[in-house]
Amino acid sequence: MTVTENAAELAPAKEVGQARRRKEDARLITGRTTWTDNMTLPGMLHLAVVRSPVAHAKITSVDLTAAQQAPNVVAVFSGRDFAEEQGSIPCAWPVTPDMVNPGHPSIAVDEVNHVGEAVAIVVARSKSAAQDAVELVDIDYDVLPPVLDMEEAVKDGADLVHDQLSSNTSYHFVFDAGDAGTGANTDEAFTDAEVVVSRRFIQQRLIPAFMEPRSVVVQPQGDNFTMWSATQVPHVLRVMLAMVTGVPEHKLRIVAPDVGGGFGGKLQVNPEEVLSLLVARRLGKPVKWTETRSESLMAAHHGRGQVQYVDIAADREGNVKGLRVRLLADMGAYLRLITPGVPALGAFMFPGIYKFPAYRFECDGVFTNKVPTDAYRGAGRPEATFAVERIMDELAVELGVDPLELRRKNWIKAEEFPFTTVAGLEYDSGDYDAATQQALELLGYDELRAEQQRRRESGDPVQLGIGFSTFTEMCGLAPSRVLGSLAYGAGGWESASIRMLPTGKVEVVTGSTPHGQGHETAWSQLVADQLGVPFEDVEVLHGDTAVSPRGMDTYGSRSLVVGGTAVIKAADKVVAKARKVAAHLLEASEDDLDFSAGKFTVRGTPGAEIGIQEIALAVFAAHNYPEDVEPSIDADATFDPVNFSFPHGTHICAMEVDTETGMVKIRKYASVDDVGVIVNPLIVEGQIHGGLAQGIAQALYEEAVYDADGNLTTGSFVDYLVPSAADLPHFDTGNTVHAAPGNPIGAKGVGEAGCIASTPAVVNAALDAVRHLGVSDILMPLTPERVWRAVHQGGDGGDRAPAGTNAYGGAQTESTAGVSTDASLGGEL
C-alpha cells in the first residue's frame, strides 16, 4: 500500500496531509486555559507532603503535635492514619506468575524505602501555611543500609530493600526464541559462532521532567468525588483509584484538563493522587496538591535504569548468528503501574531490524532504595534500541567492516515484509535501505567522512565521528489479546464517539487523552475529511470521564494509530446512518447515493443532493425520517488493533569531539523516519524534534544521580541538565512513507521515534571520533569529563563525583521540598 492509494479513499478536499497549525496551541502557549493548579474551589484546603530525608529506615516515632498547632493548619496525617484504607499503588503488569510485589503504600507506615517517600501530609487553609508546617513534623528514623547498586543487590547476602522478602529480585523474565519456536537455539548459535562480542552497557536513570508539575484537586460532593489531575491517563486512573480506595467507580469522575506534558511520567497512579482522594474523603472538603519541581524530580517516577549484558554472535563474513541479552532492570523501591513491564516490553525490540536466527532475553527486576521507575518516552524500546545499535557497531569494529555495511547485510529487505522476527513480532512495512539512502544524502555523508579522515591525519585536537542508528520500534499499543498474553492487566483498544449537532457542527469525543500532542488538530483533520465538513466545524472533547467515558488514554505512540482509527470508524458509522436518512429525504435508494465532500448525491439525478450537516438538523427536528431507524446519526466506535505498527528510520549523527577538553558537539544530525501516512507534517516534525531532544539528552546531558546515602543529588534543574534549543543542533529531517497496513489511516505512530533512535546514533558518533585513540565505550551521559578521561586515561569515563554543583549554595534534595531534616531551615528534629 502507498500513500496515494490510501489517500484516494479519503474525501477530495483533503485535510489529511496538511501542515495545519495546532488549534490548541494559542491557549496552551499563552496559558489561557485552566491547568489543574489554576483550579480554586470554595473552601478548598491545601496539602503539603512531608517526605523522607533518608533512603532506607524504620520509622521509630512520629510527632505531629507541633505541626497540628501551626497557624491555619487543619489536620496533619501520618501513614498510620491511612494504614487501613490506603491499599497499595496498583501494579497492572505482573510479568511473571511468581513476580514478587511487596506492595506500595502511598504513605509510609513503618518503613521508608527511598528519599522523598511520603511520610506525613499537612492540610492547611493556604499553600504557604501547609508548607510552613512541614518543618514542624517530627519523625525519627532508625536508618538501615541503603541498597543502591543493582549488581551488588543481586549478590548472595546483599542487604535487602524489603526485609520481609528473601532477595532483591522481583522477577526473572525470560524470552527464548528457541522455546517460543520463533528462532534457533541460542546457546548452540553462540557455541558454533566464529565471532562473539560481549559488552556491558549502562542505561542511566532518567527523569521525565514534564513541564507542568503534577497537580491534583479533589472535590467531594455527597458520596461522589471529582478529581482533576494533571495526568495522561484519566480513564486508567479512575478504574485503579476505585479499586485501591473502594470509592465505587460510578461515584468517581476524573478530569484531566489541559495537561502540560507527561512523556510517560504521568502514566501513573500516583501516591499523591490516592492521598488527595483519601484526605478529601476523610475531611469532606475539597483539597489541592501541587508539587514543587524538587518534589517532582525526587518523587515522581523515573525512567530507564538498566545494566545490559549483551552478546552478539556472527560469522567472519558478518552474518549475525545470535543475540543474547541479560538485563538487570532497576525497579526502584516499589512496583508502580507498569514498572516491571517496561523492560519486559523491551524484550521484543532487542533484535531491532536484523535477521537474527537465534535470540534469548533474560531480565531480573531488581529492587533498590530509589524512587520507582516506570514508563518514560519509549519505555523499554530506547533501551533495547541502544543495546542493539551499539553492539552492531562493536561487532563491526571486531570484524573490521563498515558499520553501515554490517547493518545492510543483516537487515530485513523491503521485499521481505511482512516479516516475522526472532522475537515473534510481525513487522508490517518499510524499506530500511531507502530511509538510509535519504539520510546519507541529508547528512552529506561522503564529505563528512573525508573531513574525518583529514582531521585524523593532521592530528587535529577536534576529531570528527559519524554514528548510525537504523532502528524500528513497536507502536500503536496495543492488540488487547497480545497484552493479555503478556499478562498486562488491561486491553489496548481505543474508543471514539461522534456527535452531529443540530447546526451541523461536530463533536468528536476521544478516549485518547492528549497532554500536548495535538489530538484536537489531527482528529479534526481526520473527521473533516471523513465527513466532508470544514475543519473549523469540528470540536474534539477529551480527558473527562463524564464526557468521554471509555478510553485507554495516551502513551506508546498509540493515539493516532488506535484512537484516530476509532474516530475514523465512528465517522464511517455516522455516514452509514446518514445515508439511510439521505435516501429517505431524497426519495432514492441507498445504493444510488454517492457520498463525497460532505454531500449525498443521487447518481443520475443532477441537483438531488443533501449535505450531512443538513441531515444532522433533519434528525434533530425528527419530523421526517425513515421508519426503521432512530432519529440520530451519532455513532460510537471502539477499535482494537490486530497488530502493533512498526515505524522505522535511519538517524545519522556527526559529532565533533574536542580531545583537549572532552567537550562533544553535534556537528550535523540527519534523520529519516517512516511513520506511515502523515496526517499533519507539522505535528510530525514537532514530535521528531522533541524526541530527538530527549534522546540526545540521554546521550549527552541527563542522569539521575544518587550519592552513597541514596540522596538524589541531581535534585534541581541546575544539576539535572535538560537541554534547551540553544544546546541542540539544527535537525535535518526527512520521511519515507510506507502505510501501516493495520489501520485505515496508514499511520504508524511518531511520538517516541526520535527519542528511541537518537541516543545510540549520538554515542556511536562520539566513539567513532575517538576510537582510533583507543576508546571503545563511554558511559552516558557523555559529560566532557568522561570523554576526556576515556581519551586520556582509558576506560569508559568512570562514575561522576555525586556532589551537586555549588550553584544556589549546593541546593540538594535533603534540604529541599518538604523533606524534614534539620538541614532544612527552622527544622525541628
Partner: protein, 284 residues
C-alpha cells in the same frame, strides 16, 4: 516552593536602605535582582527575617566615568552592562563575561553588584572583577570604605561585606589598549561555569608586557593565576610561550569535585582554557 515568611522594605536611597537594614532585625537580606537570593529562599536554604529590596534605589544604577576609572553602580543589571558604551570601551571583558550569564530573563533582572556580593565560586563576574583589579565601594552607617578585589572575596559565598553594609559601586580601572577574553566552559548554554578563565593582556610589539588572569570555580573564591602572570610578563607573544605559561594555571588552586568535574579534571581544564583565553586576548 514557597519561602518562609519575611518582612519587606523597599527604600529609595542608599541612606534609607542602610537604615532599613539596621532596623530589620537579626537576619536581614539585601535583595538586588533576586536571581540568586529568591531561589535560595524558595528552597528554604535562607529564611531572612527582613528583605530590603534595592530595586527602587536609582542612585545605584548606571555606569559613569571618573578619572582613570569607570564606576559601575551595584544595581546595574546584566543586560545594561552588556550594552554600556563605557564598559565596551574600557572593560569589554565585563560585557563578554556577562553575555555568558544565564539567559535573557535572568540578565534583565540580575545585577552586577548582586553577582559580586553573592560571590558564587561558579559565578562569572567575580574572576572578571579580580582580573581587572576592580575596587569595591562599600557603604555602612558609619560611612564608606573601598576594598580592592583581592580582599573582597574572602571565602565560599563570603565577602568583605560586614553585617549592615551595602555594596554601592564597583570602580574598574580603565584598560585602554588591553586585549581581553573570557573563556567559559559549561555543558549547556544556560549553566554556570565548570571552569572559566578571564584574561587581560597588554602587548608591546612582539612581547606580552603584562597579563592578568582570573580563574572562575577553581576554589572557594575567584583566583588570580599568579604563576601564569609571572611567566607571561615579558614573554614572547607566541603560541609556545603562551602554552608554557598556561601550564602553570592550576598552581595554588583547590577546586571542588562535583557532578560536572572532579578536581584533577578542573586542574586540566584551567590550563587548556587559560591557553585559549590568553591566545585570544593577546590576538594570536
Amino acid at each position: 516552593m514557597i519561602p518562609a515568611p519575611f518582612a519587606y522594605a523597599r527604600p529609595t536611597t542608599v541612606d534609607e536602605a542602610l537604615q532599613a537594614v539596621a532596623s530589620g532585625g537579626e537576619d536581614v537580606k539585601i535583595l538586588a535582582g533576586g536571581q540568586s537570593l529568591i531561589p535560595v529562599m524558595r528552597l528554604r536554604l535562607a529564611a531572612p527575617e527582613t528583605v530590603v529590596d534595592l530595586t527602587k534605589v536609582a542612585e545605584l544604577r548606571g555606569v559613569r566615568e571618573e578619572g582613570d576609572a569607570i564606576v559601575v553602580g551595584a544595581m546595574t543589571t546584566h543586560s545594561d552592562v552588556i550594552t554600556d558604551p563605557l564598559i565596551a570601551r574600557y572593560a569589554a571583558l565585563i560585557a563578554a563575561a556577562t553575555e555568558t550569564v544565564a539567559d535573557r530573563q535572568v540578565r534583565h533582572r540580575g545585577t552586577f553588584g548582586g553577582a559580586l556580593a553573592h560571590a558564587d565560586p561558579a559565578g562569572d563576574l567575580p574572576a572578571v572583577a579580580l582580573a581587572l583589579d576592580a575596587e569595591f565601594v562599600i557603604a555602612g552607617l558609619s560611612g564608606r570604605r573601598t576594598v580592592p578585589a583581592a580582599e573582597f572575596f574572602v571565602d565560599y559565598l563570603t565577602t568583605a561585606l560586614e553585617e549592615g553594609e551595602l555594596l554601592v559601586e564597583i570602580r574598574v580601572p580603565k584598560h585602554e589598549g588591553w586585549g581581553m577574553h573570557y573563556e567559559k566552559f559549561n555543558r549547556v548554554a544556560q549553566a554556570w561555569s565548570i571552569v572559566a578563565v578571564a584574561a587581560v593582556v597588554r602587548r608591546e610589539g612582539d612581547r606580552i608586557a603584562e597579563a592578568k588572569i582570573g580563574l572562575t570555580n577553581m576554589g572557594p573564591t575567584p583566583l588570580r593565576a599568579r604563576g601564569v602572570e609571572e611567566a607571561l610578563a615579558g614573554a614572547e607573544a607566541t603560541a609556545d610561550a603562551v602554552a608554557a605559561a598556561a601550564a602553570r594555571a592550576a598552581e595554588n588552586t583547590s577546586p571542588s569535585s562535583d557532578l560536572n568535574a572532579q578536581a584533577d579534571y578542573r586542574h586540566h581544564l584551567a590550563q587548556v582554557l587559560t591557553r585559549r583565553a590568553v591566545t585570544a586576548a593577546a590576538g594570536l
